[in-house]
Structure formats: structure tokens, C-alpha cells
């Protein structure tokens, strides 16, 4: 059992009356001859790492290798605790967690690359925030990771999730699409709605360049993880309200891939374009190396 695009995945889900997460779990068990228990335990371990990575920066002071980050999660969490946020409590928490995971990553801590290290804050950010908001069980969250995995798998197979290949739109774009789909399933959305939410998230970030200051996974990556998390939330919200997405998922992914390929290499992780090429960024570079 396998699927190579969203059309095949949706057909499978509709015929068998399965969710995206169930389809992805079955795919893993069939293709790798593994028991459900074994696959589940491994995903549970990934979720535990995500959870720890969202909370660690609230407890400890972490200093990034390049020195461009540190303490952002605490600042955001403080605003959430004080109850006077611009974003509302759920989004405030999600972005605090998302930026926190990037603090952990950039200080050589343990994270789950989902789908990459540079975009590792998006999925834990939204999943942990929604879990706490609605008091969801861990088991439900682990299930949702299979949904996110299905979306990420299709993007990786048919396009790319690498910033060096497709820019930030591919990297944080994919993470955001994965998170949007997972949120949809958690809130009772159908497989089609999950993919609509994913397409929406991907479309919203279309064209975003990858321009890391000093070539490090620090800035602007950290803030873009917060953006990816909030984009996932609004994409899921729009879809669940009944707003349809006009372009099907497979076509959206193809469009993203084409945009990525037409980006000059300066805007694909080489730190030679975008904000990485500004005079201030170059000055910061000298301080690091």
C-alpha cells in the first residue's frame, strides 16, 4: 500500500473511510513490515522530544552557537502569562513554543527535524499549544503527527522541503502545511479539508526566500518558524470555517517547486542574498567568524 500524490491518498481515504493519519500509519507498517506498536512507539518518542524542546527554553537560558538568539521564548511566554497578548492565548503560546524550539536547535539541543532542523519549531509549536488549549491526550497528538507526516511525505516526494533547493517557502512552507493539516484533523476536519488547509498554508508562504544571516540556522529562521506556526493556525481556521481552497494540493506543491527552482541561488540558503546580504548582516558575520 502506497500513495504518490494527494489524489491517490484522498481516494484511498475515501474508499476505506480512513483519516490521513491512519493511511500514513498503515503505509509505514506495510512498506517496512513493522507492527503498529513499534511504529507508534517511535512516533511517541518523537513527540516527547518535541514537548521537551518547547518547554526547555522556558526553564533554562540557552545561548545559540552563533550568538544571534537567546531568550525569545521566555519573553513571549511572559506576555501570554500576563494575559495581554495581541494574538490571543493560543497563538501567543504557539509562537512562544515555536521560537523556543529554534533556541534549543541553535544551542545544540535535541529536536525533531520536522521536516527539517530549520523548520523544527512549527509543528511542536502548534501541536503543543492546541493540546494544552483543548486538554488533548498525548495519544491523539501522536496520531496527528502521522497526518503531518503524510503531507510532508507528499511534498518531499513531489517537490522539496530543503531551503537550499526551494527556499524558505519549501522548508517553513512544508512545516506550516504539515501543521495546518494536523490541526484540521485534530479539530474534526475531513481528509480533503486537511489537504485544503495544507495547500492554503503553502500558498500563503509561496515565494519566501531562504536568507540565513551568516549562513546559520538562527535569524531570520526563528521568527519565520513563529510565522509558519501562525500561518498553520489561520489556514486551519479558514478551512474549518468552510472556506474552500481553489487549487488542489498536488498542483500547489508543483507550483511551489517551480517557484523554488526559478529562485536564484543567492536566495537559497547561501547567505548571499535577502537580509543575509545587508550591511548589518555582514557586520554581524564578522563578529561570529
Amino acid at each position: 500500500m502506497d500513495f504518490r500524490n494527494a489524489v491517490e491518498l484522498l481516494e484511498y481515504c475515501e474508499v476505506k473511510n480512513k483519516s490521513l493519519s491512519e493511511a500514513m500509519l498503515e503505509r509505514e507498517m506495510t512498506l517496512f513490515h513493522l507492527s503498529q506498536e513499534k511504529v507508534w512507539e517511535r512516533m511517541k518518542h518523537a513527540y516527547a522530544i518535541m514537548k521537551r524542546a518547547t518547554h526547555l527554553p522556558l526553564e533554562k537560558d540557552l545561548k545559540s552557537m552563533g550568538g544571534l538568539l537567546g531568550g525569545e521564548a521566555k519573553r513571549l511566554y511572559k506576555r501570554y502569562e500576563e494575559g495581554k497578548t495581541v494574538c490571543g492565548s493560543l497563538m501567543a503560546k504557539a509562537i512562544s513554543y515555536a521560537v523556543g524550539v529554534l533556541e534549543v536547535n541553535s544551542s545544540m539541543g535535541l529536536i525533531v527535524a520536522a521536516p527539517t532542523a530549520g523548520s523544527s519549531g512549527v509543528i511542536p509549536g502548534v501541536l503543543l499549544a492546541i493540546q494544552e488549549e483543548y486538554a488533548l491526550e498525548d495519544e491523539v497528538m501522536v496520531q496527528a503527527l502521522f497526518n503531518a507526516g503524510a503531507v510532508g511525505y507528499l511534498i518531499t516526494l513531489n517537490a522539496t522541503v530543503s531551503g537550499a533547493e526551494g527556499g524558505c517557502q519549501a522548508e517553513v512552507g512544508a512545516a506550516s502545511a504539515m501543521a495546518a493539516a494536523a490541526l484540521c484533523e485534530l479539530m474534526g476536519g475531513s481528509p480533503r479539508e486537511c489537504l485544503d488547509a495544507a495547500s492554503t498554508a503553502l500558498t500563503n508562504i509561496l515565494g519566501l526566500v531562504c536568507d540565513p544571516i551568516a549562513g546559520l540556522v538562527e535569524a531570520p529562521c526563528q521568527k519565520r518558524n513563529a510565522m509558519g506556526a501562525s500561518n498553520a493556525l489561520i489556514s486551519a481556521e479558514m478551512t474549518l470555517s468552510g472556506i474552500r481552497h481553489l487549487i488542489p494540493f498536488d498542483e500547489t506543491v508543483e507550483a511551489m517547486y517551480k517557484v523554488g527552482k526559478s529562485m536564484p541561488s543567492e536566495l537559497r540558503e547561501t547567505a548571499m542574498g535577502g537580509v543575509a546580504a545587508t550591511p548589518t548582516a555582514c557586520q554581524l558575520c564578522k563578529g561570529i567568524f
Binding site: 509505514e28 512516533m43 545544540m108 535535541l110 525533531v112 540556522v217
Partner: protein, 222 residues
């Protein structure tokens, strides 16, 4: 390309900050950890391209040392790898090579000296998402990724050796995915690399090494 798993997407679980510059670097060094006779006493890492430019900010140096100590991508001791190296009596150094003669921007050459003074070298690249590619072992151009259950065999280049290896594998019901043979000159030393679908046990290794034409057989699986 191997069939993609959900854990290639929700994963790998790794010490940051970069799958290519940290996790991939560590995996390259771990290949050397598996190839070299223990204990490794000395190592030189020669960094090329992007590795040479950004290794400090990515912790590439710590990841390389950690990999050579046998640590895995999830190991939270990686950050303190230099201390662990000192404890283990491993002397390490880094060299920057500015030449543009590399196949991939994230390339490293690892040269180790074992306990008995023997030298082994390996050149490889971190090709993205933590995946790696080994390009050279002891100066001979090779190719393997460590994704499969990999056997690296150094042997005499003479008739019957490859047949012996494949007989051993078939006896233990191991299906070969890929098999490649490399040699410098006819009749001297050759390297055979086997990539298999099934896990390779120590018994298989012993059976292969029983032939006097086999100098060395190592298991590499990342």
C-alpha cells in the same frame, strides 16, 4: 532512492542546529568510527567548502568529534564532545582547505591514526537532511551512503574472492541490494562494498573473514 519513511519526515531526531552541517557531519565521522580499528588515537579533519566557512556556528567540529567517538545524532553529549575526546585520549585537530576541488560544498576528509600506528582516511560529503555519501576510502574512489546494511571488505584482488563473499551471504540468506568492487591496480588490494536489505550479523562477518584473501571486513550501518 530508498523508500521514504514517515520518520524521514518527522525526523531525524537530532542535535541541532543543522541536519547537513551537524547531523550529517556526525554520520560521516561515525562511518570512520566503524571502519577504523579501535582505539583511535589521533584524528585530523580537513574541512572544505561550506564546512570550512561555517563549521563553528553549526557545531560541525563538535559533531565530527562526537561521531568519531561513536555517538549518534540524538546524543545530548555532542555539545561536550571535546571533553569526551579528552577523556577518551583522542587527539583531534581541524584543518581548513580553501581549494575549490571538491565534489560537494559540505565535504570533509577524515584521517585517523589507530592504536598500532595504522592510518586510514575517508572523504565524504553531507548531502542534505542528514544524508551522507562516502566518496573515498584510503585514497580509492568509492560510493556508499550507510543507509543500507553495508559491508566494507578489503581483500586481495584475485579470482574467487568475490564468489566467496557472495556464497557466505547466500548461506545466511542475505539479499544483496548493491555490490561494488573497487581496486587501484590489477592483482593488488581491492575493496568490495555490499549493501544489503537484511541486518548483517557478526557470524556473516566471521564467515567472510575466514578466507585468507580477506584482510578486513567491517559492518557499517548508520
Amino acid at each position: 532512492m530508498k523508500v521514504m519513511s514517515v520518520f524521514d519526515i518527522i525526523g531525524p531526531n537530532m542535535i541541532g542546529p543543522s541536519s547537513s552541517h551537524t547531523a550529517g557531519a556526525l554520520r560521516l565521522a561515525r562511518v570512520m568510527y566503524k571502519l577504523a580499528p579501535q582505539p583511535i588515537k589521533e584524528v585530523t579533519f580537513v574541512l572544505y567548502g561550506s564546512f570550512a566557512k561555517t563549521y563553528k556556528g553549526h557545531g560541525t567540529d563538535k559533531a565530527l568529534v562526537a561521531g568519531l567517538l561513536g555517538m549518534e545524532e540524538e546524543d545530548e553529549r555532542i555539545k561536550e564532545a571535546f571533553n569526551y575526546a579528552r577523556e577518551a585520549g583522542l587527539y583531534y585537530r581541524f584543518e581548513i582547505n580553501d581549494s575549490k576541488h571538491y565534489k560537494h560544498p559540505n565535504t570533509v576528509e577524515i584521517i585517523v591514526k589507530g592504536g598500532k600506528g595504522e592510518h586510514i582516511s575517508l572523504t565524504g560529503a553531507s548531502i542534505g537532511g542528514g544524508a551522507i555519501r562516502v566518496d573515498k576510502v584510503n585514497g580509492i574512489e568509492v560510493f556508499f551512503t550507510g543507509e543500507y546494511y553495508t559491508l566494507f571488505i578489503i581483500h586481495q584482488d584475485k579470482p574467487g574472492v568475490v564468489a566467496h563473499i557472495s556464497q557466505c551471504l547466500s548461506k545466511y540468506e542475505i539479499n544483496i541490494a548493491y555490490m561494488r568492487l573497487y581496486r587501484e591496480q590489477k592483482g593488488t588490494i581491492a575493496s568490495t562494498i555490499i549493501e544489503a536489505d537484511e541486518p548483517l550479523t557478526k557470524e556473516v562477518l566471521k564467515a567472510i573473514e575466514a578466507n585468507p584473501a580477506i584482510y578486513n571486513a567491517k559492518l557499517i550501518h548508520l
